[in-house]
Symmetry: C2
Subunit: 209 residues, 2 copies
């Protein structure tokens, strides 16, 4: 008789399988839409039984909450670590946009779902954590731009518009990014920061006067 | 007995009412999602009877096609006019981003629907026109950036990335733009072009050396 796995092992196995279910669900929602995807579609996509699926998630809403949470929470942890470092502010900004772009790469379907279902997230208590995470992220990023201006490192004609432009650039990337495409996630991140800080055009002028 | 309206008047009245139905539908789809909105919801939103609604549109899909078409077609017409002008290339770019931003302002719900339902538009023959319009728009915009570089007016570290960044900035604006907010659509458009061309930071340095 096999030794039964201890609780930690069971927990890890459960978490791992839940992750796999989440990835499949994110893909289904991204490609077919959240509303148009039925629990039966998810059963087919995951290869689980209906009972097996409900073992991991009680409802489609719960899946969507988890997808958004899985996207935002680790990103926020990384961004806070960067901000707590004592790196120069431009290095911090570059590091943040890189980890953000790596999230776009690793969680592209999650990101697409997050944007497609934005209208769903705007209302209802079950989405309040996701809304707060999104707001926290925007505020952290805004604070970095502000500090860069205060320190005399960055100059924006309109800092708030620059923040919104950056949010637009990076978020839109989920629509077109292809792994192993012409540019890596890091190159795209660096390119966006160069644009934001007005370095993209100047750098070239330096090289090619 | 009232004189019956002639065919032109009937046509105009029909078109006008169809427009109103489209606006209501765009709002419903943007706020509640395309899939989650029923024909009954549209009956309620428009104040028409079910028969009246079907008089204007045969199906929800047809409504969605029209919403996307109403967004892209007039924008393409205006962009082509600008490109056919002999204005200097930077003026052309600025004019294009302004008309584009005015479309975001005037058709904000259309724009939100267009982005939320992107996964729907990617497949199926009924969406081929919309996909072509979107592609045409991106190609026209790309050609303007290319001409600006060729003429020595613009310099991009990576022109394709600059194009995608601009698409991201402007499209994302539909998520946060508020009429009568701090910035007008034109001011936002100008701010984005300044960022793209690396003028946003330099202008300030000129003013405030």
């Amino acid at each position: 008789m096999a030794t039964p796995p201890d609780r930690r092992v069971l927990r890890e196995r459960y978490d791992h399988r839940q992750q796999i279910v989440l990835s499949h669900a994110a893909r289904e929602f991204a490609v077919n839409g959240f509303h148009a995807t039925s629990m039966q579609d998810l059963v087919t996509a995951t290869g689980l039984t209906t009972g097996g699926l409900y073992h991991y998630f009680g409802s489609k809403d719960e899946l969507l909450v988890k997808i958004c949470d899985e996207l935002m929470e680790p990103l926020l942890v990384e961004v806070r670590e960067i901000i707590d470092s004592n790196w120069p502010i431009e290095i911090q900004l570059r590091a943040i946009v890189r980890v953000w772009m790596l999230h776009v790469e690793e969680h592209q379907y999650h990101m697409l779902v997050f944007h497609q279902e934005r209208h769903v997230l705007e209302h209802g208590r079950q989405w309040s954590k996701v809304r707060r995470q999104r707001k926290d992220f925007e505020e952290l990023l805004g604070a970095v731009l502000k500090r860069g201006e205060r320190d005399g490192e960055f100059r924006f004609a309109d800092r708030d518009l620059a923040l919104r432009a950056l949010l637009g650039m990076v978020n839109h990337t989920a629509q077109w990014f292809r792994p192993r495409g012409r540019l890596t996630a890091e190159q795209i991140a660096d390119g966006y920061v160069d644009l934001l800080l007005g370095r993209a055009n100047r750098l070239i002028e330096g090289v090619n006067p």
